[in-house]
Every structure is written in C-alpha cells, then in structure tokens.
Symmetry: C2
Subunit: 109 residues, 2 copies
DNA sequence: AGTATTCATCGTAATATTGCGATGTATAAA
DNA sequence: TTTATACATCGCAATATTACGATGAATACT
C-alpha cells in the first residue's frame, strides 16, 4: 500500500517515528549539521554546500520545517533558517526516553 | 528519482540517516519497545500485539535486522528476536553526538 | 508419512520519497 | 520599469516503502 497505519499506534510511537523520519536522509542530517555549525543559517549557503539542486534542497528544508525541527524567517530577498529549540527539546526528550529504555535491556540470545 | 545520493554525503551522515530510517515507522518503534519490555522476544507475540498482518510484521523485522538493531535466533519452529546491544551502542553514540551538538546551539532568529 | 505451526519470501497494488528542470513570486538593484 | 537574485512550488520520472494474501521451507506433533 505504501500508507502507514498511523491510527493503529500510540501518539508517542507516531511522534518518535515522525522525528526519526525527518532525520532519515543524509541531506537533512547535513542541513542540520550546517545549521548547528553556522548557527546563523542563510539558505543559499546550503545550496552551495550540498551536492543537490536548489529545488531539492528547498524540498528537504520544507520537510524539516514541517516536522518543526527548523524554522525560517524572511530576511529581505533571502530566507534565514535555524533550529527550533522548542521542538528539539521535545524531539530529544522522545529519543532519550527510548535510549534509556534500550540501555536497561540485558544482553540476550 | 527516489534514489538517495548516498555517495555525496559523509559516511557518518549516512550512518545516522540509516539508523533514523530504521526508527522511522511506528510499527518498528512498537516492535523495539516490545522487545525492550519482554526482553525474551518470541516473534509470534509481535504479530499478536501489532495490528498488522504477519507478512508485514516479518518485513519490519527484516528491516530492523538489516540495520543490525535486532538479531534473531532460531528456536525450534519459532524465531527469537532481541536487540543487538553492540549495534545499539553505535546507534546511540551517533544519535547522542548529534544531540550534544544541537544542545550547544543558541536560540536564534 | 501426514498434518499443523511458525515464520520468511514472492508478487502485487497503492502510495511516498527523491531529485531535478521549469516556472512562479517577491524583494532588491539599475 | 526593467532586470537580477533568492526561494518556493509544480510537474515529471525513477525508485522505495507499506501492506497483504498466497506460497514455500522448516520443524514439531500424531
């Protein structure tokens, strides 16, 4: 089908999966890392840095924005992107909860 | 195209994206959480617990196994799945590295 | 041997993702 | 006003993902 049965899972599970999906592409990891490093976040820079066409970069940015992990503000003719710390707090919390649980598991089989 | 330009990114970026991809579906989150809770990991149980057909569950298990996050051992006629702690150590390390970097970013824009 | 159980894999259908060129929109520069 | 610059969005092609029924392979049960 290609359609996830979202309604069949808990909100928490869907939330974590959504965050993971946003991170599930090397280009989006690269974008986030660049935003972390530069902090200032001019959009055109990303197109220069990434080995992808402008349209493709724009699409990845839109996806990260949709998830809320980044936000963009208009700055004249250019677009300034940066991390949305509020959303990241939620994201990190969700991930860390899973990680903590994983750490409690004994080596088995 | 639908084909990720893997070779254009660093190995680290691809590694992190691959782990994220494995976690990018609520069913796989649910599987992992069940494996964490039960620890013992009989496969048929997952089919009972999840609102998905056996073939679909098997497919999700195969994907988690491909990434290395779980491993399965044959136990008579059934299949025993459990977390692969070694791979999880790598996964957690990769995620935590990103999280640490995110935490250093100042609120902006 | 014959049957049931457990799981993986195949094949198929529907939808999603990735990537890009082309085009549109809005601001800035001339 | 015309032109350039910076992005977003549309439309397309190729591939991937999700879901499932059907079938296959292997072990256990009678």
């Amino acid at each position: 089908m290609g359609l996830t049965k979202t309604e069949a899972f808990t909100e928490r599970q869907n939330e974590l999966a959504t965050y993971a999906k946003a991170l599930a592409h090397p280009a989006r990891i690269a974008i986030l890392e660049h935003l972390i490093q530069e902090d200032k976040c001019i959009c055109g820079d990303l197109v220069d840095v990434l080995p992808l066409a402008q349209a493709t970069v724009s699409q990845h940015l839109a996806e990260l924005k949709k998830t809320g992990l980044i936000k963009g503000t208009i700055s004249g003719t250019s677009m300034c992107y940066c991390l949305d710390k509020t959303e990241w707090t939620k994201c990190i919390s969700a991930i860390e909860t899973l990680i903590e649980k994983v750490k409690t598991v004994a080596t088995c089989c």
